[in-house]
Amino acid sequence: MSGFGATIVPLGEQAWTVVLGETVDRMLHQRVTALAARIAAARIPGLVEIVPAYATVTVFFEGDAEEIRRKLVALSHHERSEVIPPPEAMPELHVIPVRYDGPDLAYIATETGLTRQQIIQRHSSREYLVYLLGFVPGFGYLGDLDPSLVLPRRATPRTRVPAGSVAIAGAQTAVYPLATPGGWHLIGTTTTVMFDPAREPAALLKAGDRVRFEPVA
C-alpha cells in the first residue's frame, strides 16, 4: 500500500487519497504539489480529477479501481526521484487589495496585544501560499500567517459572512468568495472577485499560487 511514507486509502468507490503526512507545512505541501504534477503527467486513462490538499492528493476516476491504485502506488513510490514534471498550469502571484475595516480587528487587537496598524502591517507584509481550494468554489486556504496573529476560530460561527470578506483563523487567511456561514475572524474586505462562473478560469486562485494583500484606503 505504501511508497516512501505514502499511504493510499479509498474515498468511496471512485476516488483514492494518497496520504503523504498529517501536518500543515510547506515542505510537505511541496511533495503534494510534485506528486499531483506527476500524476497529471502520467495521463492515466479514466482519471477524472486530481484534488491536492495540505497533506494529500485525491484522485477521482472512472473505471477499474485496482488498476488506478497500482499506478498511484508506482507514482508515489518514485516520489523521491529527481524528475518533477512542471505543473499543468504555472503558479501565479496575485495581489489582492484589502480595505482593512473588518469587524473583528478590535477583538484581534485585544487578544494579541497588537495595534490595528501592526495587525494590518503583519497581515499584508507576507507572501502567502495557496495550500488548497475548497469549502465553497474559489475559497483558497492561504498560509502561513504571522505567528503573532494565530488565533482559534470564533466560538460561535457567524451565520452569514459577506462575499469579499478577508479573514484569518489558525495559521491561515482567506477571502470568502460567496456569502456563507463562517467561523473565521473578519479583518477586511476586497473588491477582487474570487469566483466568477462566467470567467475562464472561474476561480482566481489555484493550489500552489502565491497571494499578497495590499492595504487600500
Partner: protein, 289 residues
Amino acid sequence: MILLEKAPPFATVQDLGWPTGRAMGLPQCGAMDPLLLGRANALVGNLPGAAGIEWALGPGVLRAGFACELTVLGAGEVLLDGEPADMAHPVWSLEPGARVTVTPDRDQRFLYVAVRGGIDVPVVLGSRSTYLPGGFGGFEGRRLKAGDLLPVGPALHTRLGGLVHPRAAPDAGAEEMPIRVTRGPQWDRFDQAARRTLLESRFRISASSDRMGYRLEGPAIVPSRTATLPSEAACPGAIQIPDGGAPIVLMPDGPTVGGYPKIAVVVRDDLRCLAQYLPGHEVRFREAG
C-alpha cells in the same frame, strides 16, 4: 416553455452536476436522486443528463406553454387538467395550456419532472445544475418560484433505448435494506466499538438536512485518535464525524474538502436511496461486500 403556475416550497433545475471542478472548490451538485432523473429523462427520450426539475416539500402546478411530452417520477399524485394521470404509463402528451398538478409522495423526498428536450437553461461551466449557495447555474441560480417560464430545448431526433420503467414501490411493511458503505479514509482512526456503532445502530435523518448534507441522530461515534485533520478532499456520500460524534453524510452540494474524519462512504448507488429519506426516517448501514 413550461410555466410554473404554483411553485412548491423547494424546486430547482438539476442535471447530473459538475463532473469536474473539485480542484477549485466547486461541489459536484446535480440531482439528489440521479437515477430517478435519468429514468424520467429516458421516458421522454432525453439523454440521462438532460436537465429536469427537482421538486420537494409540497404540491405545485405546471402549465404547458406549447404541445410537449412530459413525465413526473416519484410523485404521490399527478393531475392533468384535474384528472388523475395514468401513472402506469407516465409519459403524457400535453396540449398547449394543459395544467399539471403535482403532489409529492409521502415517503419520498424528491420527485423529478422531465420534459422532452430537457429544461434548456444556460450551461454554466459544463452543467445546467443549480448551486444555491453560489447563486449560479440552473434557473437564475435560484429556487424556482411561481411565474417562472422555463425554456425547453430541442428534442433528440431519435429516441434512445427502450422505455425505462419507473421503480416499483417497495412492498408495504417490508424491512428496508441497510444502506451500504465502504470504509472511509479515516476508518483506522475509529476503534472496534465506534465501527460497530456505525454498522449496528439505527440512526434517524435529522430535520436539519439539506442538499449539502444529512445529519444523523443516534448514538455518538467517537474516534479513538485526534479528530480533526488537515483539510482533504471529501465527496458526496462521505460520512463525516464532527467532534460531537453525530455523523453527517455529505450530499451533492456539500463542501469539496473537510477536516473531519470520514469513517465510511455511502456506496454511490445507495446514496440516492438515502437522499430520498425524509426527516425522521430510520436508517441502518452495512459494509458493502
